[in-house]
Symmetry: C2
């Protein structure tokens, strides 16, 4: 069996409160990154902190981000701004008998680092294909790949998976013993991001069949496995 | 009819690219804040930017955040750190015939400001009730309210809704005309956060009935209305 891969603990990735919910295990971290659709990128430029949602894909030890060459966030990040990349998956609402112990079940990852601009054309193409394939597995082989002009107009960054941690909460409420007898309902409402039936573009030729990869997999109506 | 309420445009809340997707309209902003369950708070302390997911509730012109007195984020924010609060709702995946024009349908809000510590006991109680009520409408009147000791152990912050904007993307792919004839499926996969059946806590007395507010409303299986 392979050694468990873990990220080293740094001062800022140190688990603070509720340490038992935290992990530096790469398998836990990667599973969250691979399930999420959108990350929240935090960066600080000219005295202002920004938090911007964006699509991404993990490939090995990096997370790829992309956008237009003029994109504000990518400009700040490629200029060397230290940043924080957070992915959060919501799994449930936890209702306790007391207001205080209400909580949320979630899996999240927080990574710290400085993004590297991807300039090699082959890595750029692979990164963009990875983002499409991450969002809709199977799609990468189907959509028209970027041409040279599109490639030049697109900025790609690689954010390192080197420093950070995951945090996972599962299960029901944790209550004060004195409250257990209260006549107040307690438990969990599970939450899940689900896909509806695909809606074809108005202009789509009826000769183009709906591909199988639009259903099942990420879009399976069955609950996805949980980490933790 | 009331005047439309809008946030003033500041340099950092100015809409940059894809301006047509942006808005400073408070109705659009409030609808996103009221539908979201978790916000991502960005703040910058000792040279590091952090992005932390957390529960919240909007009440009038502020967003309330809360946590333990020792909470790292609340400590930084109540110390006067300028911060960014982002809420993102995912509505769909947009598949274009070309890889480049793949996109995500979403509604997001980004607010900039400095949080105010809430020290008045009445406002603190109201803020904590608002957070519970926001997450599960109807719950506020049911759960045991915080006692004095719990109130002292909880820090509450009010983040102003004064500077920021919303961004909304809806609809199908926007393609290069030359690609419209490609035999590649194009359209949207709608996404929605849905609730499963409530799971009662193991220790819950069978005399406690499942309250009606656990189903319907936020948890209605029908698609929620869309902004924009």
């Amino acid at each position: 069996m392979a050694e468990p891969r873990t990220l080293p603990e740094s001062d800022r990735s140190r688990l603070r409160r509720k340490r038992e919910r935290g992990s530096h295990d790469r398998d836990v971290i990667d599973a969250v990154l691979d399930e999420g659709l959108v990350c929240h990128m935090g960066f600080h430029v000219d005295g202002t902190t920004f938090v911007v949602p964006c699509a991404y894909a993990r490939a090995g030890d990096v997370v790829y981000l992309h956008g237009a060459v003029a994109n504000h966030m990518l400009g700040a990040l490629s200029g060397g701004s230290a940043a924080c990349l957070t992915v959060t998956l919501l799994d449930g609402i936890v209702l306790a008998r007391s207001a205080k112990h209400h909580s949320v079940n979630f899996r999240s990852v927080m990574l710290f680092g400085t993004a590297r601009p991807v300039t090699d054309a082959d890595e750029k193409r692979a990164a963009l294909a990875a983002v499409v394939e991450h969002i809709v597995p199977g799609r990468g082989a189907d959509a028209r790949p970027p041409n040279d002009e599109e490639l030049r107009a697109t900025k790609v960054l690689a954010f390192p998976i080197e420093e950070g941690s995951a945090k996972v909460r599962t299960g029901g409420p944790v209550e004060d013993p004195a409250d257990l007898g209260l006549a107040v309902w307690a438990g969990e409402i599970p939450l899940r991001l689900v896909a509806g039936a695909p809606v074809a573009d108005d202009g789509l030729s009826s000769a183009v069949a709906e591909p199988a990869y639009l259903r099942g997999g990420r879009f399976d109506p069955a609950p996805s496995g949980k980490v933790g």
